[in-house]
Symmetry: C2
Subunit: 170 residues, 2 copies
């Protein structure tokens, strides 16, 4: 798994970067103890108010923390989005699945991972073997975009329709 | 080509979005006249100071403008990076190539495309059949990350090494 994480970062390494500045850095973890610490810094599924996150035996087995190096750029634009999506698509190709976390207790995480002040935590990517069933649904007429779990524990994600997204075509 | 653009946006439609708010909207163009107008709003390759952008017969044949809808969210986080990378990877799979532009004359573009005030231009993606040769190089010891063209018109892009990007592994 440790080698897989390096391969995933190598994909991100080749990505576009604003002004090609490449200010992103990475911390990798496949260590059970560190994984538990990282897990404790993440805000899981805000819309599932009665769900505290995955059970112990279903928790992520690896993490990639994406950081912005302020000594290389003072603006990371959307570089971390480009890198994170590349990593997650690469992970799917390896039979893994994952999730990007923006809701992170950064101070706590910085302590656990000894993150230097010149590095800004942009995203945490959790990775593991997928066990959940996900279903994409259309957003209903009331416009509610909150994901939910049904009685069979299927995770439903409402997505807007293509015609809602495309404003004009020339 | 118009259908291909819709398929690419449909890939982006399925992407992760902060809080699943899905605030991104899209304007598509395969129209020669609109393409010329969009082209005139883009800042091409800032590091190639003697190059004014591609010649007429090598200019992009399609554009996807990614906008953030302020009526749906007041923060787009890195959603546009996630979407743009997905669109560009999808485009490569279709034999196309492209480039994300953050350096955009937004006021001028808003005029040409009748972009409403509640929409914020986040990125412009240019697409077309690739004709250039690109080579990824290691960043040299002097740390220069500026891309350049050699005497054979090969476009060189220096990328940092994997060991420069990975701060720690647990």
């Amino acid at each position: 798994m440790a080698q897989t994480l390096e391969e995933l970062v190598d994909l991100a390494r080749h990505c576009a970067s604003a002004g090609n500045k490449q200010p992103l850095k990475y911390i990798l973890s496949t260590c059970e103890e560190k994984n538990e610490e990282i897990f404790s810094c993440l805000g899981w599924a805000a819309y599932l108010t009665r769900w505290k996150g995955p059970e112990k035996n279903e928790q992520p087995t690896a993490y990639i923390v994406i950081l912005g190096d302020r000594s290389l750029s003072d603006n990371f634009w959307c570089d971390h989005g480009i890198a994170a999506q590349t990593i997650l698509l690469g992970a799917r190709d390896q039979g893994l699945a994952g999730c990007m976390f923006g809701a992170v207790n950064i101070k706590r995480l910085a302590g656990f991972l000894s993150i230097d002040d010149h590095l800004e935590v942009k995203l945490v990517i959790a990775l593991g073997k997928p066990v959940e069933t996900i279903q994409i649904d259309p957003v209903g007429p009331e416009g509610d975009i909150r994901y939910f779990r049904d009685e069979h524990q299927v995770h439903h994600v409402p997505k807007r329709s293509l015609s809602d997204l495309i404003i004009s075509t020339w």
